[in-house]
Amino acid sequence: MGDALLEIKNLESFYGPIMAIRGVSLKVEKGQIVTVLGANGAGKSTLLKTISGIMDPEKGQVIFKGCEIQGQEPHRIVQHGIVHVPEGREVFPLLTVDENLTLGAYTRNDKVGVQRDREMVFDYFPILAERRGQEAGTLSGGQQQMLAIGRGLMLSPEIMLLDEPSLGLSPLLVQEIFAILRRLNAEEKVTMVLVEQNARIALDLANVGYVMEIGRIVMDGTAERLMQSEDIKAFYLGHQEAGQRDERRWKRKKTWR
């Protein structure tokens, strides 16, 4: 184990009186892909938002390359090389696809590199090239998701925080996106923190996984180990899919509770 690129210690975040993450610690090493699994409302998005400065933590530290960065303004955190591809697209609806991508490279000054990356994004998502002049708000849901991911790539980040990148994408595109992520990780050594509902594909891609429940990390381990866990199988991979109708009401007790 090398030095952690990103380390989170005992982080707590609130929405007003509601405590959304309750003392989360985790480590991300350089070049790793870490996935965070968890049911709806577990606090996964909150965790990513707190890392990227969109929310202020109440307690705890976020350490990036040895520096504490928690509570900084979000744009400072981007300047450190941390990119967050948010849940729910969040494109600039009245700007064109091209302008959205340009803004993705806002912090960069190397014109050549930006141009190359733009070509790369268009290469990954040809539909965006086709629609470069269209206002982003009129793209279809999936197209907006592609744009959001493409825009994140334009920043040429050191570490990417991806919040449900597969949301609303067609099965084909989901495969493609994950192939792209794998390639970025392999070729450009981009470190990633991935939050995904589609646990199977996430664990397949990731090296390490964490499981969150009601704001806490309840389980962690290598992706292989998690994949073997009965709980994971039952709740995140959907192995009991073929179960009886009545089984729905009877929820299997999770062993980590």
Partner: protein, 291 residues
């Protein structure tokens, strides 16, 4: 001849509205807030210049005082954002609207305390001399207003359209969170735009004061400029200019040809008509949400 005279002075007049409207639009374009104190900013800009240049005050040469006043107002705009508006970051725009209305009260009060409530005249080289082209008379100030407004609109338009910062400002107004995700220092960008609009207000104030007298209530004009900005389609810079010109031109024609009692309502009736047929102004950027 008469018609031409009416038209030309209407255009000059409209440019003043356009200038103030530009200030409105700038803020809106970058923050989606409406600065109801824009008219008062203009008044303040005029008074700052007056304070710097008039003989009974600091008596600086006009061409030193004017840029200085523009700088002062830009700084004021930035500081206002820095110390006050930033605390409202992410809060509903109504809060900002109310804040700027209240700010207008304060600005008027401060101007009244410093410069008194009686109308005063700016000692400006622009207020002297007329140009007479074939019987159509235009004051120097009118000519200056037209030239400056057109140049400023072009400049700002280019700025928003062509520069990365301009684009970032638009982005920041559409989705603050996403703008942050892009690494755009949203608060600083908004501070810059408040500074820029302060500078615009100062320019408007100087030109306005060169055309006549000013007093602390001169900012009331802001409402008509607001109407102009809306006619143009709030958020569009050329729209602000066009809206200003429309309001400016309709006025002299209405007072020339309409009966007393009716003429002064023309700009507002026009505004309502425009809105009935184009609910989002002439050059709007309002869309139906795609679901």
């Amino acid at each position: 001849m008469e018609v031409l005279q009416l038209l030309v002075s209407g255009l000059a007049n409209g440019c003043v509205y356009g200038l103030i409207a530009l200030g409105f639009v700038l803020i809106y374009k970058a923050t989606e807030a409406v600065n109801f104190a824009q008219g008062d900013f203009m008044m303040l800009g005029a008074f700052v210049t007056l304070g710097l240049t008039n003989a009974e005050h600091m008596d600086l040469p006009f061409w030193v005082a004017a840029p200085l006043a523009i700088l002062v107002m830009a700084a004021l705009g930035y500081l206002l954002d820095f110390f006050v508006l930033r605390r409202l970051f992410g809060q509903s725009q109504t809060a900002v609207v109310i804040l700027t209305i209240a700010l207008g009260f304060v600005i008027r009060f401060v101007a009244g305390v410093i410069w008194g409530h009686e109308p005063q005249t700016l000692e400006s080289p622009l207020s002297i001399g007329d140009i007479n082209i074939g019987g159509v008379v235009l004051g120097m100030a009118d000519v200056a207003v037209i030239v400056v407004t057109v140049l400023l609109t072009l400049f700002l338009f280019q700025f928003f359209q062509r520069t990365k910062l301009g684009l970032a400002m638009q982005a920041a107004s559409q989705n603050q969170m996403a703008a942050y995700y892009m690494g755009i220092p949203v608060k600083r960008v908004q501070g810059l735009i408040w500074g820029l609009s302060g500078a615009t207000a100062a320019i408007a104030g100087i030109l306005f004061a060169s055309k006549g007298a000013i007093d602390p209530n001169a900012g009331l004009l802001g409402i008509k400029a607001f109407a102009a900005a809306v006619i143009g389609g709030f958020g569009s810079l050329p729209g602000a200019l066009v809206g200003g010109l429309i309001v400016g031109v309709i006025e002299p024609f209405a007072s020339r040809y309409f009966a007393a009692g009716y003429s002064q309502i023309a700009p507002y009736v026009l505004l309502l008509l425009v809105l009935v047929f184009r609910p989002n102004g002439l050059f709007s950027q309002v869309r139906v949400k795609k679901v």
